[in-house]
């Protein structure tokens, strides 16, 4: 899911195209290392979801106003991308990208105990569509087919 193979000797171009695609997707490049083929990018967005507010209201009424569940407020979506030549002649390159997100929660309350805001948790993005979308854009950008491995 995270990996695709490209038939090209030009690793550098593949990396810069990847950077461009990530930028198109709204990411900001945080770090790049051409020598080892690493890119790190991130974007910050709101993480508010209607369903969580609905759930919060439901439990609020169910517990007669004693439980206020914290909801997700803010998230940082990050990507770590590594390119690597697959054979010794370096005519094939492999691109592997990992998306993950860090979410910050708001405040809440259970009975008399106040839950301060700022609790954070992290999760890997496991939705294949996100990866497909990225690789579709990347193969368009380099005019090459992205082969599954």
């Amino acid at each position: 899911m995270q990996t695709r193979m490209f038939e090209t000797p030009n690793e550098r171009e593949l990396l810069s195209a990847s950077a461009a695609v990530l930028q198109d997707l709204g990411f900001q490049i945080e770090e790049s290392q051409r020598e080892v083929g690493l890119l790190r990018a991130a974007k910050e967005r709101s993480a508010r979801e209607y369903s969580q507010y609905a759930e919060r209201a439901f439990f609020f009424f169910l517990s007669l106003g004693k439980v206020v569940q914290p909801v997700d407020l803010h998230q940082k979506i990050a990507a770590s991308l590594v390119s690597r030549p697959l054979n010794s002649e370096a005519t094939r390159q492999e691109i592997r990208i990992v998306f993950y997100r860090v979410v910050w929660k708001g405040d809440g309350q259970v009975d008399n105990q106040y839950i301060p805001p700022g609790t954070q948790y992290m999760e890997m993005v496991r939705d294949p569509e996100i990866y497909q979308q990225f690789f579709a854009k990347l193969s368009k950008a380099v005019f090459l087919e992205a082969h599954r491995i």
Binding site: S80, V82, R84, M122
Partner: protein
């Protein structure tokens, strides 16, 4: 009677106050190497028959990715790779690894992995054995069992 108690109280407060002012004594062996350090270092280090440093760094990156780590930082010049992941299924715990690659001699490469669980260094040999097994798979190489001195 009461003045005695008062006097004693003032004296006690004074001693406590003065004690707070005294600078803690610096231990002389603060930077001295210990046996445990040397032991951990030998656990963390393996020597490989390799000449290409860049390939070794890329191999380390690939094996870390295979183990589910997110590459956070890499530096070709220093031969450094830093990666992290959650200690699944405990999503609140994080494992961080730093891998250093350096030339031992022109034909030998010494690779050191440094793993930290939350904020505690991992000194279990098994963990490092597993990592080096994965690294070896990524490098397809024969490995010397004896670490560098």
């Amino acid at each position: 009677m009461q003045t005695t108690i008062l006097y004693a109280g003032v004296l006690l407060a004074g001693t406590l106050f003065l004690h707070g002012c005294a600078a803690p004594e610096v231990k002389q062996d603060l930077f001295a190497p210990t046996d445990a350090q040397m032991k951990i270092r030998s656990l963390q280090t393996r020597t490989f028959d390799l000449t290409d440093r860049n390939a070794a760094i890329r191999g380390a990156i690939a094996s870390l990715q295979d183990l589910g780590f997110i590459i956070e930082r890499a530096n070709e010049g220093l031969g450094l790779v830093t990666a992290a992941r959650f200690a699944e299924p405990n999503y609140y715990d994080v494992v961080t690894v730093t891998v250093t690659v350096r030339h031992d001699s022109p034909k030998k490469m010494s690779i050191r992995a440094n793993a930290i669980y939350n904020n505690k260094p991992i000194d279990d040999p098994k963990v490092y054995q597993n990592f080096f097994a994965a690294l070896q798979r990524a490098l397809f190489l024969s490995q010397e069992s004896n670490p560098s001195p």
